[in-house]
C-alpha cells in the first residue's frame, strides 16, 4: 500500500519523534508513506471565512499532488487533517471558492476536490484494518487501561469530517482494543482542550485540559492517547499527573519496534 504523506510543520520540528515513529509503524504494517514534495504548512487551523482563498491554497496544493499521484493523503496531525479535509470539502461543494482557487492556481485540469484525505487512524481502520494490526501486535498491551482523547479537530464538523460519530466516536477505542489494552470511554473525550489559547492564557487551557483528564481519570483511565500535537501539549502541561502520549507511540510499542 502506498499513500502520499503530509507531515505538517509540527512533525518536522517539535514533534520529530512523532514523524519518525509514525513512519516506522507504517512500514511495519506494510504501508509506504511518500512525503509530498514541496508541501507547505496548512496554517494550523481551517480558515472559516468564506472570502479567504489565500489561506486555503497550501491545502489545495497538497490535495492536488495527491490527486496526481492517485492515492489518498495521509496525515498524522489532526489539525492538518482537519484543514485538508475541510478545504477539500469546500473544493467539492462551494462553487465560488472552487472557482477562485482554480483561477488563482491555474492548474492544467481544474481541481474539484477529487483527492482523498485520510487521518493515520482512518488509514489504520479502513485500509490496513484493525484485525491486521491485532495480528501484528508483538507486545500486547494487556491489562493497561487507556482513555482516548479525540478533541475537536478529528470529529467536527461531523458532516464534513465524516470521521466517526461526532458525539460517540469509537475509532480510537477500537484501536486501543486492537493493541490488547482496555479502552476507557469517558464523556470529555470530545471536549476542547483549550487549543491555541495556550499561547495567550495558559490558565484557560489548564482549566479545559485538566477537566478532560479529570473526566478520564474518573472513568478509570491510567493513561491517555491523543492524535494532535497541540492537544498533547495542553494535556501534558495542565498539571495533571496522568500520562498522555501520542497514539503512534502506543502502536510503536505494541508492534515491538524498539
Amino acid at each position: 500500500m502506498v499513500f502520499q504523506y503530509y507531515p505538517g510543520c509540527t512533525l518536522k520540528t517539535r514533534a520529530k519523534e512523532l514523524d519518525r515513529k509514525a513512519r516506522l509503524c507504517a512500514e511495519a504494517l506494510g504501508v509506504q508513506l511518500e512525503e509530498i514534495k514541496d508541501w507547505q504548512c496548512c496554517g494550523g487551523c481551517y480558515p472559516v471565512a468564506k472570502d479567504e482563498i489565500a489561506t486555503k491554497l497550501s491545502a489545495v496544493r497538497a490535495m492536488m499532488a495527491a490527486k496526481d499521484a492517485g492515492t489518498p493523503v495521509v496525515t498524522v496531525c489532526s489539525a492538518c487533517h482537519n484543514v485538508l479535509k475541510r478545504t477539500n470539502h469546500d473544493m467539492q461543494t462551494d462553487e465560488v471558492i472552487r472557482d477562485r482557487v482554480n483561477r488563482y492556481l491555474k492548474p492544467d485540469v481544474p481541481y474539484a476536490g477529487e483527492g482523498e484525505v485520510l487521518h493515520f487512524l482512518e488509514m489504520l481502520r479502513d485500509k490496513v484494518g484493525f484485525d491486521t494490526i491485532r495480528e501484528k501486535v508483538k507486545n500486547p498491551l494487556t491489562g493497561r487501561k487507556i482513555g482516548a482523547y479525540y478533541g475537536c479537530l478529528l470529529l467536527r464538523p461531523g458532516k464534513v469530517m465524516a470521521f466517526d460519530d461526532p458525539e460517540n466516536p469509537s475509532i480510537m477505542e477500537d484501536f486501543i482494543t486492537a493493541l490488547g489494552a482496555e479502552a476507557v470511554r469517558y464523556p470529555y473525550r470530545n471536549e476542547c482542550c483549550g487549543a491555541y489559547l495556550a499561547l495567550e492564557d495558559q490558565a484557560i487551557t489548564k482549566k479545559k485540559s485538566s477537566a478532560v483528564l479529570h473526566s478520564a481519570k474518573c472513568a478509570g483511565a491510567q493513561e491517555v492517547i491523543t492524535a494532535c500535537p497541540l492537544c498533547l501539549y495542553n494535556l501534558q502541561k495542565c498539571g495533571d499527573d496522568l500520562p498522555v502520549v501520542y497514539f503512534t507511540e502506543l502502536l510503536f510499542e505494541a508492534l515491538g519496534l524498539e
Binding site: 458525539e167 460517540n168 464523556p187 470529555y188 473526566s215
Partner: protein, 663 residues
C-alpha cells in the same frame, strides 16, 4: 346542430343598470344555433325558471345559455330546471355577467360588449356540450380500520355504533397502542389504563367489530365504496379460538431473556407472551425469533402446559380477503431513534431515557412496579433533568424533524408534576425553548407544575450530558439569567420527537394516498376536510395525519367515524360527471397520465383491437375509473397523444370559448 335558448337575467338592477340586457339578448339571438332568446328580471325566481322550462319544451331546445350571476351561485338551480324540462342538466352553461361583468364595470357600452362576448363563449361551448350522466357505484357497508390504538378504537366503536361492520387490523398481538403504555393523562391526570381498557373491552365485545390482531394489510385494490383488501394474519403459533389467556405458558416458558418491547426493553419477557394483563384479544403469542422449539425443535414446554391445547408450532401465515366501503388509516406514531443525539449520552448511559420509557418506569404495571428508580442501579433519583424538543423543530438536513411534536410540553409538565407529587425530595428541572400549551386547561396545568409543585423551568437548551461517577453532568444555558448551568442529575429524560409509524409509507403506496415529506398523511383539505385523504374513501384518524394528543386524537377519530358513516349510509355513490376519459384508439399506453393522477384513478389494461387492416393487435390502453376520478384534468394535458379528455371541459369546448372571446 343544437337548438339553443339564451336567457338574460337583469338581476333587478344589479345587471341591468350597467349592461343593456335587451341588446345582449338580441345580439346573442343572432348567433348560429340560437332559436330563442329572452330577458327577465330574476331568472332564478320561480317565474324565471318556468320561463326556461317552457322555452325548452316549446322550442324543443337542446341546450340553454343563462347570462346571469356566477355559476357558483345558481348553476345548480338552472341545471335542475333544465332537467325538469326534460333535457340533460349538463346542457346548460352560465355566462357570468354579474360578478365578472356588471359589478366591476361602470361604462355601459363596454360592459354590454363584454357581456355579449361572454354569452358568445357560452354558446360556443354549449354547441359542443354532450349529455352527461354521473355514474353510480354500490357501497360495501363495512369499514376497515388500520391500527388499533386509541384512534382506531374510537373510530371503530363509533362506526359500529351506527350499525356498520368494522374490522380492525393491528400489527401487534393486542390493540391498545401507545396509550396502553402511558401512565397518566394530562391535564386531568386520570390513569390511562382506567379509561382505555374499558374501550378495549367494548371493542372485543362489540358484535359489529372484528379484530385482526398480529395482522397487516397486504394488498389493497378497488376504490371508494368497493375496496378489496388482503390481510395477512401472521402466525402467532397459538390457536386464537382455543387459547383462554390463562397465561400459564408465559410463566413456564424457559426462554426468559427476551427484551420486553411493551416496556421498551427496560425488562425481559418470555418467548411466549401476552403483552400486558388487559390485552385484547387476551391470547398468547410465540416470538419466533426467540422460541427454542421453533428454532431448534427442542423444548415444547408451552404445549405441554397448555390445558386448552392451543399451541400450534406448525401454524403458517394466512390471508383473509375482505371487501370494504371505506378504509381508515390510524397507524399512529413512534418516538424517533435517539442514536444521533449522543451529546445527551442516550446510548452511553442507561439513566438517560426517553419520555415514553419514563412512562413505563412510573407505571404501576411497568418494570419497577411504579416506583421511580434509575435503570442503572435501581436507586431513587434525587435530581431529574427533562430536556424538551429533542429532535423536534430542527432545520432540515439534520437527523431531526422540522415540525413541533406538539405533545412534549404537556407530558413533560405532567411528568415533572407527578414526580414532585410522589417524591417531594426530588428536584426537577425542565429545560425548554418555548412552553407550548394551547388547549383547554393546558396552560393552567403547566403553571401548576411551576407554582404549586416547584418544578424548575429553565429557558435554554441542554448542550451536553456527561455520565460521570454515577451522575449525569448536565451542561446547559439559562438564557434568562445569562449563565451556564452545570447540574449533577441522577436521571435525564429526553422528550424525543415523534414520527409516523414506519408502516405508514408502504401503506400509503398501497392506498395511493398522498403523504408529506415527513411521512404524515395529507388531508383532502388542511382546514375544511381534515379527516379525509384526497383519495376518495380513505380516511385519517390520529397521529398518522400529524402530531396530536389524546383529546385531539379522539375528537379526530370520532370526526373520521362520522365521515365514514356518512359514506356507508349511502347505498350508491353518485360519481362526478365531469370525469376524464381516454380514447382507446388514440392511447399510446405510455403511462404518463397515470403518473400525474392524484387519485390513482387511471389504470392500464392490455386489450385486443381489430385494426383497419383487419389484423388484431393487443394494445396497452389507459382506462379511467369514473368513480375515483375527481375531474381535475391533469392527465389531459400530460397525455402526449391527446387521447385523454375531460367531460364538461373538453379540449374543443375550451378552445371554442377561446375562439369566441378572441374573435
Amino acid at each position: 346542430m343544437q337548438r339553443i335558448g339564451v336567457f338574460v337575467c337583469w338581476c333587478g338592477s344589479n345587471i341591468a343598470a350597467t349592461v343593456d340586457v335587451k341588446a345582449v339578448a338580441e345580439a346573442l339571438g343572432k348567433e348560429p344555433g340560437v332559436v330563442y332568446f329572452e330577458d327577465y328580471q330574476y331568472m332564478c325566481s320561480e317565474e324565471g325558471q318556468n320561463k326556461i322550462k317552457n322555452a325548452i319544451r316549446d322550442y324543443k331546445l337542446t341546450g340553454a345559455v343563462i347570462c346571469s350571476c356566477s355559476p357558483r351561485m345558481h348553476e345548480n338551480t338552472f341545471r335542475k330546471a333544465a332537467a325538469a324540462a326534460g333535457i340533460n342538466s349538463f346542457m346548460v352553461e352560465i355566462a357570468n355577467i354579474r360578478e365578472q361583468c356588471s359589478w366591476i364595470h361602470k361604462d355601459k357600452v363596454s360592459a354590454t360588449e363584454k357581456a355579449i362576448i361572454l354569452g358568445r363563449a357560452a354558446i360556443a361551448k354549449v354547441h359542443l356540450n354532450a349529455p352527461l350522466t354521473a355514474g353510480e357505484s354500490p357501497v360495501v357497508k363495512r369499514a376497515l380500520v388500520i391500527g388499533g390504538g386509541i384512534a382506531g378504537i374510537q373510530t371503530a366503536l363509533d362506526i359500529a355504533d351506527a350499525g356498520f361492520e368494522v374490522d380492525i387490523v393491528e400489527k401487534k398481538p393486542t390493540i391498545g397502542g401507545k396509550m396502553s403504555q402511558i401512565d397518566k393523562t394530562f391535564p386531568t391526570l386520570d390513569c390511562a389504563a382506567c379509561i382505555l381498557t374499558p374501550k378495549m373491552v367494548d371493542v372485543a365485545q362489540n358484535e359489529k367489530i372484528r379484530i385482526f390482531s398480529y395482522s397487516e394489510v397486504d394488498a389493497v385494490k378497488g376504490f371508494v365504496g368497493n375496496f378489496k383488501v388482503s390481510i395477512r394474519r401472521k402466525a402467532r403459533f397459538v390457536d386464537e379460538v382455543k387459547c383462554t389467556g390463562c397465561g400459564l405458558c408465559t410463566e413456564k416458558c424457559p426462554q426468559k431473556k427476551v427484551p420486553n418491547e411493551f416496556n421498551l426493553g427496560l425488562d425481559q419477557r418470555r418467548a411466549i407472551y401476552i403483552p400486558f394483563a388487559q390485552a385484547v384479544p387476551k391470547v398468547a403469542t410465540i416470538d419466533a425469533d426467540y422460541c427454542t422449539m421453533l428454532k431448534t425443535g427442542k423444548c415444547g414446554v408451552c404445549s405441554k402446559v397448555c390445558a386448552a391445547g392451543a399451541i400450534d408450532y406448525k401454524q403458517k401465515d394466512t390471508f383473509v380477503e375482505e371487501e370494504y366501503g371505506a378504509i381508515v388509516v390510524a397507524t399512529g406514531f413512534n418516538p424517533i431513534e435517539l442514536k444521533k443525539y449522543d451529546e445527551f449520552a442516550y446510548s452511553q448511559s442507561p439513566d438517560v431515557i426517553t419520555s415514553l420509557e419514563f412512562e413505563r418506569i412510573t407505571n404501576a404495571a411497568g418494570p419497577t412496579g411504579g416506583t421511580l428508580l434509575r435503570p442503572s442501579d435501581g436507586t431513587h433519583p434525587k435530581k431529574i433533568v427533562f430536556v424538551q424538543c429533542v429532535g423536534s423543530r430542527e432545520d432540515g438536513g439534520g437527523c431531526g424533524k422540522t415540525y413541533c411534536s406538539k405533545i412534549c410540553c404537556m407530558y413533560t409538565a405532567k411528568h415533572a408534576m407527578l414526580t414532585r407529587e410522589k417524591y417531594p425530595d426530588t428536584e426537577v428541572y425542565v429545560f425548554y425553548i418555548d412552553v407550548r400549551t394551547p388547549g383547554k386547561s393546558f396552560d393552567e396545568f403547566y403553571r401548576r407544575a411551576v407554582e404549586e409543585y416547584g418544578v424548575h423551568y429553565v429557558k435554554g437548551m441542554v448542550g451536553k450530558v456527561s455520565p460521570e461517577n454515577g451522575k449525569l453532568m448536565v451542561r446547559a444555558s439559562d438564557l434568562i439569567e445569562g449563565k451556564q448551568l452545570n447540574i449533577d442529575a441522577d436521571l435525564v429524560v429526553l422528550a424525543a420527537a415523534i414520527e409516523p409509524d414506519q408502516s405508514a409509507r408502504p401503506l400509503a403506496t398501497m392506498l395511493t394516498a398522498s403523504m408529506d415529506t415527513n411521512d404524515f398523511f395529507t388531508e383532502a383539505h388542511p382546514k375544511l376536510r381534515p379527516v379525509e385523504s384526497p383519495t376518495a374513501g380513505i380516511f385519517l384518524s390520529g397521529c398518522c395525519q400529524g402530531p396530536k394528543d389524546i383529546p385531539e386524537t379522539v375528537a379526530q377519530a370520532s370526526a373520521c367515524a362520522a365521515k365514514v358513516i356518512g359514506l356507508l349510509a349511502k347505498d350508491k355513490l353518485t360519481c362526478n360527471a365531469c370525469v376524464a376519459h381516454s380514447s382507446e384508439m388514440l392511447c399510446n399506453g405510455c403511462s404518463t397520465c397515470e403518473k400525474v393522477c392524484p387519485y390513482g384513478a387511471i389504470s392500464y389494461e392490455e386489450k385486443e383491437f381489430r385494426m383497419p387492416d383487419r389484423t388484431t393487435r393487443v394494445r396497452r390502453v389507459a382506462s379511467v375509473n369514473p368513480a375515483v376520478c375527481q375531474g381535475c384534468g391533469a392527465c389531459t394535458v400530460a397525455c402526449p397523444s391527446g387521447a385523454m379528455d375531460l367531460h364538461g371541459f373538453s379540449n374543443r369546448q375550451i378552445m371554442a370559448e377561446v375562439d369566441a372571446i378572441c374573435k
